[in-house]
Structure formats: structure tokens, C-alpha cells
Symmetry: C2
Subunit: 205 residues, 2 copies
Amino acid sequence: MPKPTFLNLSKEKQELLINAAKKEFSRVPLHEASISNIIKDAGIPRGSFYQYFEDKEDIFFFLFDEDSRRVNELFISIIKINNGDLFASFVDLFKSILISFDEPGNRQYIKNIFLNMNYKIEKTFTKNFFEENVKSHFSELNGLLNSENLNITSEEEMFHILKIMIVVMIQNLVHVFATELPIHEAMATFSLEIDLLKKGFYKGT
Amino acid sequence: MPKPTFLNLSKEKQELLINAAKKEFSRVPLHEASISNIIKDAGIPRGSFYQYFEDKEDIFFFLFDEDSRRVNELFISIIKINNGDLFASFVDLFKSILISFDEPGNRQYIKNIFLNMNYKIEKTFTKNFFEENVKSHFSELNGLLNSENLNITSEEEMFHILKIMIVVMIQNLVHVFATELPIHEAMATFSLEIDLLKKGFYKGT
DNA sequence: TAAAAAAATGACAACTTGTCATATAGAAAA
DNA sequence: TTTTCTATATGACAAGTTGTCATTTTTTTA
């Protein structure tokens, strides 16, 4: 979380820093990013940076939390369009993220994030779907989704299904960003895996 | 990959370095690890380190590749015990890994790895199950697994099922290591997710 | 035993990072 | 409008890091 001092800054100065940070996080992943580069690019003195943020993780997660919140909003709207169809919604979300990857300024930034998707980053990404502080939010999601055709007996199972869908989607995204797989191939693979999840791995005899 | 010079070293000197590295990777995750600490602990001059390894990633993956190879061997033996039952085997593997986590020297080392499980680490872990250079190995796995009761129509689907099972297992492991969840609770959660995967998310109407 | 190749060594330049004493600006009080 | 107090800005600095490379030492080869 940025310190209050940062929030008191003018929008312009805030953006100056944000842009410099995004540029650095596009160049290299978080753990290789250099605060020196960010302040040089933003043209602010070193001491000021530490007046605004704890460290580079702090500014990184400030950016990323915003990004993942946007993805979540997108997901909510996609679910509505699909009348609560969980599977169709994930396929659409997947495609939307792939398309945004092809937008000019995003490519390296997104790639650096996904190829270094560790616990903390994944948790930030996922918590906007349903966690602790957002518990009420999970209910919102739960209300939007059509669970009629889902093979579940409790809300807990619904939670685990979502968890699995998300991790499978993330894994597919990582794979795409790592191998620069064309969109249509990525879509085919992801759809195949979603189908497997739908029908189940086990064939009762 | 270590340089030839390292492999020419006596086993004792190799272990000296390996142990120092493992100690450092137990203290902090890879990206925070310091070569200075490793060489100080091993009592070798700085230049020597670079004679043996490219950088800290190099020695990290030398260790981790060995670790994940051991896990794979374990997995193979577990499958045999379970007569090729994919689901039972994953549950057993999950439990084995949890138990090894409770062994003294391992705890922090394993935790640091799983909480920073990025693409490269996951790929190293996974490749020993079935990838490119080990393609023949996937066939071995494929031969061991009992696919009679699996809901698949091709070897490709089998590959995707394995991929999903692994990523779900990893996600559960990460969760356990992050929250210090007791083994029995972890087992319950993982079993529940495996059951969901078995029966499928979609209820045909 | 002399020459050539391989390995060991540690000082060094070129970076990092986070801190802190000091300077400056802004707001509140007198 | 001064004075006082508080918040912010600043950049030099200590303490650390990394990878390199000229030299020395050891081992092989001829």
C-alpha cells in the first residue's frame, strides 16, 4: 500500500511515477526491477520514492492490484452476458486476456508478471475473485453463476470448482506467454481442458 | 547446469558447496539469495564460484532438478503400488510430500521453493513427469497408469488430465506451505478436489 | 624437466538498496 | 503578518551486492 504522502500528490505526479514503474516492470520482472531506474525515469529524487512507497514490491502490487481488479470486473460482466454459464465465461475471459496481451504497451508487462506468478501474485489475482476481505463478493459471484447444471452439493464445492478453474486458466495463460502460442491454438487447448473438467476424468463402469 | 570444472571436483568439495547453497536457499527464496553468503559459508573464494556455476540460478536448479527427479521416482513407485490408479496415486504422492515437509532440514527449503513457484520452477518440476526431452518417459508413465476407467479418447487427453492433476496438487501444496495447514486438513481439501475432478463439474441434464 | 593447459584467487568497478540529517514549503497559531 | 510547528523534499552515504579479469598456483602433457 502506498503511503499517504503518495495519495496526496497531484494526479500528474502520481502518474509520472506509475508510468515509470510500469516501464521498469515491463523491462524486467519484479525481482530484477531497480528502484534506481524508476526514479531516474520519473525524475524524482531517491528519498522521495521512499516517502511514497515501502519498496519496489509496494509499488508493484499497487499497480497489479488495480490490474486484477479490472480483470475481475471484466469477469463479472462476462458472466452476465453468458447468463451465468461458468464454462463459457471462463473461455471468454481467457480470450479477453489473450487479446489484451496483444495490445502494444501490455505485452512485456503481462509476460513478466505471468512468468513470475508466485504465491503472492497469484493470491492477489485470485483474491479479487473470492477471498477473505471480499467474502461478500464471493456471494455476489455465487449469485450470478448458474449452478443448476453444476455437479455440486454445497457452496464449498462451488468454491473449489472456481479455484480449480482459475488455476487451470492461469496455467494456460502462463504457457501461452512463455511459448508465444498463437491465440487459436491456445483457445483450442484451453477449451479441451475445460471440457475435461466438465465431463470428469473418471468413467464409472 | 554446473560447469565441467565443478563436476571434476572431489565429492567432498562438491557437497561443501551444495550444503552451503541449500542453507542459503533455506534462509531466503532464490531471488533474495546471496552468492556472497554461499561462498562465505563454504569457505571458497568468489572467483571459484563462478568457475563452477554461471550464477545463483544455476546452482539452485542443479539442486532442484535433483529434488524433482526424486519426487518423480517416488511417484512412479506409488503408481505401481496402486496398480495404476491415477487418483489414489496423486493422493498418496501429496501425502508423501507433506510428510517430507515435516522433516527437520527440509521445511524452510521446501517452503521457499513452493511460495516462489514461478514458471521456470514449475516447469522443472513438471518436466520430470512428461516433457520434451523425456518424451519416452511419458510413455512409461502412460503404460503404468490404468486408463480403463478414465474418461478419455486419446493419449492427448491423458496428457491434459495429468497436467491438471499436477497443477491442482501444486496449488494445494503451496496453500499448505503458506498457511501451515495441518496434514489432515490438507488431505481432506485435496481429496475433495480430486473427487470433483473425477466426477466432473457439469451435471448433464 | 620444460611447456602448455586448467584451475584458483581476490581486488575491483559498477552497480544496488534504505536511511538520515538537512533544507524547504505549507499550515496553524499568535 | 510574523512566528511556530508540521509535512515534505532532497541527495550524500554506508553497507551491501554482483560478475570480471589479471595473476598466481597447480596439474597435465610432451
